[in-house]
C-alpha cells in the first residue's frame, strides 16, 4: 500500500539524518536531497492513477478524522506534489555543483525541508497543520534567502522575515477565531458547519487568512518583499521560490476560498486582484535593468495570472490555473537556472552584461530563450497551452466583462514579450568586448536544464495527456460536498 | 479577579514601555515582564503546560537570546 504520508515522513527523516551521513563522509551529504526528491517524485507519480479514481484520505495516529490530523491526497494535492518533487529533484541536481560556499550541508538540509514543508501544505486537511507546514516552508526560505551572507541577501532576508512573520501571526489569529466559533480545526468539518454561522462572523477570520497567506503568495499590495528576496537569493533558490514557494501560498488561499469558506462572492474579487497583480508585475518588470529582478517581477505577474485563472472558478478555469502553475514552475525554474550560471560567468546581474552570451554559453542561452518564449506564451512551448487554456476558460464564462479581462491578459503578455525579446536580442546579437571563449556550464547544470527544456517542449506539443488530469483536478477543487464527504464519511 | 485585572494592566503597561524605551535593553526587560505575566495568566487560565513553556522558553531563553544579540549589535535605538 502506497501511503501519501511517506511523501512527508521520508524526506523529513532524510533531512534529519543528513548530519549522521556527514559523520561517515562529507561527500554524501549533497546527494541526500536528490535521493529524497527522487523518492517523492516516483511515489507521487505512482499515486496519480489511484487518486484519479478516488481521493485518498489518510488519518494519522489511527483516530477518526475530525479528532485527528488527516491528509487528503486528492488530484490537486498529488498533482502539486508531483510538480514540487520534479522541480526539487532537478534543482537539487543543479545545486550539486552550484553551491560551493558557506555551510553547504546546512543549505542541503534547508533545501530538502523547504520542499517537505511545501508538500505538507498541499496534502494536509487540517488548518493548523497547514499553518505548521507553512511555517517550515517560510522559515527555511527566510534562511535560504539570507544564505549567501551578502549585504543584499541579509537585507532581503530581514524584509522577507518581518513581513512573513507578521503574515503568519495574522493567520494564527484567524485560526484562533475559527476555533473559537467552530470548536474544530479539521477543514472538512469547518466547511460542513460554515453555513450555520452568520457570514459577518466569519468575515474577519477570512480576511485575516487571505491577508496572511497573501503575503507569502505575493498578491498585489502584499508583494513588497518578493523582488529583493528572489533576486538576492542564490539562483537555485530563486528557482524554487519563484517556481514553488509562492504557488503554495496561492494554493492555500484557493483551498480556503473554495473548500473551507466556499464564498462565491469573493471570486470576482480574486479575478480583479489577480489582474491588478498581473499588470503591476509585468509593468514593473519592463523597467528593470537587473536580470534577476526582472525575472522576480515577472513572477509577480504570473502569480497574478494564476490567481486570475483560479478566480474564474469554473472547472476549466481552475484546471487552467493549475496548468499555469506547472508551466510557470518549469519555465521560470529554467530561466533562473540558466541565468544562474550566466551571472556566475560574467559576475554581473545587469542585463547589458549578458551581451555575447549566445556564443560564450550557446546551450544555456538556447535554454534561456526557450524558457522566455514559453513564459511569453509562444507555441509550441508549454506556456502557450496553459495561457490558451486560461483565456479559453475566461471566454467560456460568457459575460462581456470577462472578454475585456481576457484582452487585458493578452496585453500583459505583449509587455512580457517586449522585455523578454530585449534580453534575448542582447544575448544573441549585441557585440561584446570580452573575448568569446566557450565556457559552458558544468554537466550537473546542463542535465537539469536539458530535462526542463525537453519537458517544456514535449508538454507544449502534446498537452492532451495532462488535460484529463487537470480537468479532474479542476472539478475536484471546486467540489466542496465531495471533499467533506470524502473526509468525514 | 482583582489580581487578574491588576496583572493585565501591568502587562499592557510593560508592553507600552517596551514600545517607548530608547534603551533597547530596558525594552527587552519590559518584554520579558510581558512574557512572565502572560505565564502567570496561563496558569490562572488552567493551562499549566503552557505556563511552564512560556516561562522557560518565552521569558527566560528569549530574553537571553535578545541580550546576546544586543551585545553583538548596538544597545541604543537611534
Amino acid at each position: 500500500m502506497v501511503n501519501p504520508v511517506l511523501l512527508i515522513a521520508v524526506p523529513l527523516g532524510l533531512a534529519f539524518s543528513i548530519p549522521l551521513f556527514g559523520f561517515i563522509s562529507r561527500r554524501i551529504e549533497k546527494y541526500i536531497p536528490v535521493a529524497g526528491m527522487l523518492f517523492n517524485l516516483v511515489l507521487s507519480i505512482i499515486l496519480v492513477p489511484k487518486v484519479l479514481q478516488s481521493p485518498i484520505v489518510i488519518s494519522i495516529g489511527g483516530f477518526r478524522p475530525p479528532f485527528c490530523i488527516n491528509l487528503v491526497a486528492g488530484t490537486v494535492g498529488v498533482f502539486l506534489s508531483v510538480v514540487i518533487a520534479a522541480m526539487g529533484f532537478l534543482v537539487s541536481i543543479y545545486s550539486l555543483s552550484y553551491i560551493k560556499e558557506g555551510a553547504t550541508e546546512k543549505y542541503h538540509m534547508l533545501f530538502l525541508l523547504l520542499l517537505t514543508g511545501a508538500t505538507g501544505v498541499v496534502l494536509t486537511g487540517d488548518i493548523f497543520n497547514l499553518f505548521v507546514f507553512y511555517e517550515i516552508l517560510c522559515i527555511s526560505s527566510y534562511a535560504l534567502v539570507a544564505y549567501p551572507g551578502s549585504r543584499e541577501g541579509i537585507e532581503a532576508g530581514v524584509k522577507y522575515l518581518i513581513q512573513g512573520a507578521l503574515g503568519s501571526s495574522l493567520v494564527l489569529i484567524a485560526i484562533a477565531l475559527i476555533y473559537g466559533q467552530f470548536g474544530t480545526l479539521n477543514m472538512a468539518d469547518i466547511a460542513r458547519n460554515i453555513s450555520s454561522i452568520h457570514s459577518m462572523n466569519i468575515f474577519l477570520p477570512f480576511v485575516l487568512l487571505i491577508g496572511g497567506l497573501g503575503i507569502e503568495a505575493a498578491i498585489f499590495p502584499l508583494n513588497a518583499w518578493l523582488p529583493d528576496a528572489h533576486s538576492s537569493a542564490p539562483s537555485s533558490i530563486s528557482a524554487i521560490l519563484s517556481g514553488i514557494a509562492i504557488k503554495i501560498g496561492v494554493y492555500a488561499i484557493a483551498r480556503m476560498v473554495f473548500t473551507v469558506f466556499g464564498i462565491s462572492d469573493t471570486f470576482l474579487f480574486l479575478v480583479t486582484l489577480g489582474l491588478i497583480t498581473l499588470l503591476v508585475g509585468e509593468l514593473s518588470a519592463f523597467k528593470q535593468q537587473n536580470i534577476k529582478r526582472m525575472l522576480a517581477y515577472s513572477s509577480i505577474g504570473q502569480i497574478g495570472l494564476i490567481v486570475f485563472a483560479l478566480g474564474i472558478a469554473t472547472p476549466g478555469g481552475v484546471a487552467g490555473g493549475l496548468f499555469q502553475i506547472l508551466s510557470h514552475a518549469l519555465s521560470k525554474g529554467l530561466l533562473f537556472l540558466a541565468v544562474g550560471y550566466m551571472i556566475y560567468r560574467t559576475g554581473s546581474m545587469e542585463i547589458s552584461s549578458l551581451a555575447g552570451m549566445g556564443k560564450r554559453m550557446p546551450f544555456t542561452s538556447l535554454a534561456f530563450t526557450v524558457g522566455a518564449f514559453s513564459l511569453v506564451g509562444l507555441p509550441p512551448f508549454i506556456g502557450f497551452s496553459s495561457k490558451f487554456m486560461v483565456i479559453k476558460a475566461a471566454m467560456a464564462k460568457g459575460s462581456a466583462i470577462f472578454v475585456v479581462l481576457a484582452a487585458l491578459v493578452l496585453f500583459a503578455a505583449i509587455i512580457e514579450g517586449a522585455y523578454f525579446f530585449r534580453v534575448v536580442q542582447i544575448i544573441y546579437f549585441k557585440k561584446s568586448d570580452n573575448a568569446l571563449k566557450r565556457e559552458e556550464a558544468p554537466p550537473t547544470a546542463i542535465i537539469p536544464i536539458a530535462i526542463l527544456v525537453t519537458l517544456i517542449i514535449v508538454i507544449g506539443i502534446y498537452p492532451n495527456f495532462l488535460i484529463g488530469l487537470l480537468n479532474s483536478a479542476g472539478s475536484e477543487f471546486l467540489n466542496r460536498v465531495q471533499y467533506i464527504r470524502g473526509v468525514l464519511g | 479577579m482583582i489580581l487578574v485585572v491588576i496583572l493585565i494592566v501591568l502587562m499592557l503597561v510593560a508592553a507600552v514601555a517596551a514600545a517607548i524605551f530608547k534603551d533597547l535593553l530596558s525594552a527587552v526587560i519590559a518584554s520579558c515582564i510581558v512574557s512572565l505575566i502572560a505565564a502567570i495568566l496561563f496558569y490562572f487560565l488552567q493551562a499549566p503546560d503552557v505556563a511552564m513553556a512560556e516561562a522557560s522558553i518565552g521569558a527566560a531563553l528569549v530574553t537571553a537570546v535578545f541580550v546576546i544579540a544586543l551585545k553583538k549589535s548596538s544597545r541604543y535605538e537611534e
Binding site: 515522513a9 539524518s17 534547508l110 474544530t184 462572523n201 | -
Partner: protein, 228 residues
C-alpha cells in the same frame, strides 16, 4: 505620517476584531473536539495529561512539524552566522569569579536532572519535551555565563539532534508498518498514572526533550560564538 497610518490601520483592525470577538463568549464551553479528547483521551492513549495526549498522539503530526520548525531555525541561524567563527581567544576573556564558577558547576547537574524529570513525566504531570528541553538548554546557558572556558561538543549536539529527530520519524513509520497508520500508538497503554504507561508517548516526548534541548543549546552556542 507613518505612525498615523499605522494607527488608522490598527484602529480598523481593532474594530473588526472587537466585532468578531463579541461573538465568542468568554468562559463558556464551545469545544467539540476537545470534549472528545477529555472523555476518551485516557482510555485511548493512556496518558493522564490530556494536553500531552493531544500534543503527542492526536496531533502528533503537528508536533513533528513543530520540531522541524525549530530544527530549520537552528540550521538557518547556523548558516547565516556561519561565515567566520570567533577564534580561540578564551585567554582574553575575563574569567568569572570563583564563586560564580563553582556555583554554576554545582547547579548544572541538578538543572539537567530537573529538565529530564519534566520530560520523562510529561504524560503524567504538566510539562513535557518542550519545557524540559528548554530547562536543559538553560542549564547550558548557565554554563556559558558562569564557566566561559567550557564549550559544548558541537558534533555531539548535532548527533543528538539528528538521532532524536530520526527516532520520532522511525517510531511513526513503525506505526505505519504495524497498524497502517503513521504515529499509531502501538505499544501497550499500561495502567494510567504510572510511569510506564501511555505507549509511545513517553518515548516520543523524551526524544523531543533531547532534540529541543540540543537545538536551543545550539542556537545559544551559535549566537555566542558569532563575531561581534
Amino acid at each position: 505620517m507613518r505612525k498615523f497610518l499605522a494607527i488608522v490601520l490598527l484602529l480598523i483592525l481593532a474594530v473588526g476584531i472587537a466585532q468578531s470577538i463579541g461573538k465568542i463568549p468568554f468562559g463558556t464551553s464551545k469545544t467539540k473536539v476537545g470534549r472528545y479528547y477529555i472523555d476518551n483521551g485516557v482510555e485511548e492513549t493512556g496518558a493522564t495529561n490530556i494536553v500531552t495526549s493531544v500534543v503527542v498522539n492526536y496531533r502528533g503530526f503537528d508536533t513533528l512539524g513543530e520540531v522541524t520548525v525549530l530544527f530549520v531555525a537552528a540550521l538557518g541561524l547556523g548558516a547565516v552566522l556561519a561565515l567566520k567563527k570567533k577564534k580561540q581567544e578564551n585567554d582574553e576573556l575575563e574569567r568569572a569569579s570563583l564563586v560564580l564558577t563553582s556555583g554554576c558547576k554545582f547547579l548544572f547537574p541538578f538543572i539537567l536532572l530537573f529538565g529530564s524529570y519534566i520530560f520523562i513525566h510529561g504524560h503524567l504531570t504538566p510539562g513535557g519535551g518542550f519545557q524540559g528541553g528548554a530547562v536543559i538548554a538553560s542549564a547550558f546557558l548557565l554554563i556559558y555565563l558562569g564557566c566561559r572556558e567550557r564549550k559544548i561538543n558541537e558534533n555531539g549536539a548535532k548527533a543528538i539532534e539528528s538521532l532524536s529527530g530520526l527516532l520520532f520519524v522511525v517510531i511513526g513509520l513503525i506505526g505505519l508498518a504495524v497498524g497502517g497508520y503513521f504515529l499509531l500508538n502501538y505499544l501497550p497503554k499500561g495502567i494510567p498514572n504510572t510511569l510506564f504507561s501511555a505507549g509511545i508517548i513517553p518515548i516520543i516526548y523524551i526524544a523531543i526533550g533531547f532534540k529541543v534541548g540540543a537545538e536551543l543549546t545550539g542556537i545559544i552556542d551559535n549566537l555566542m560564538e558569532a563575531e561581534d
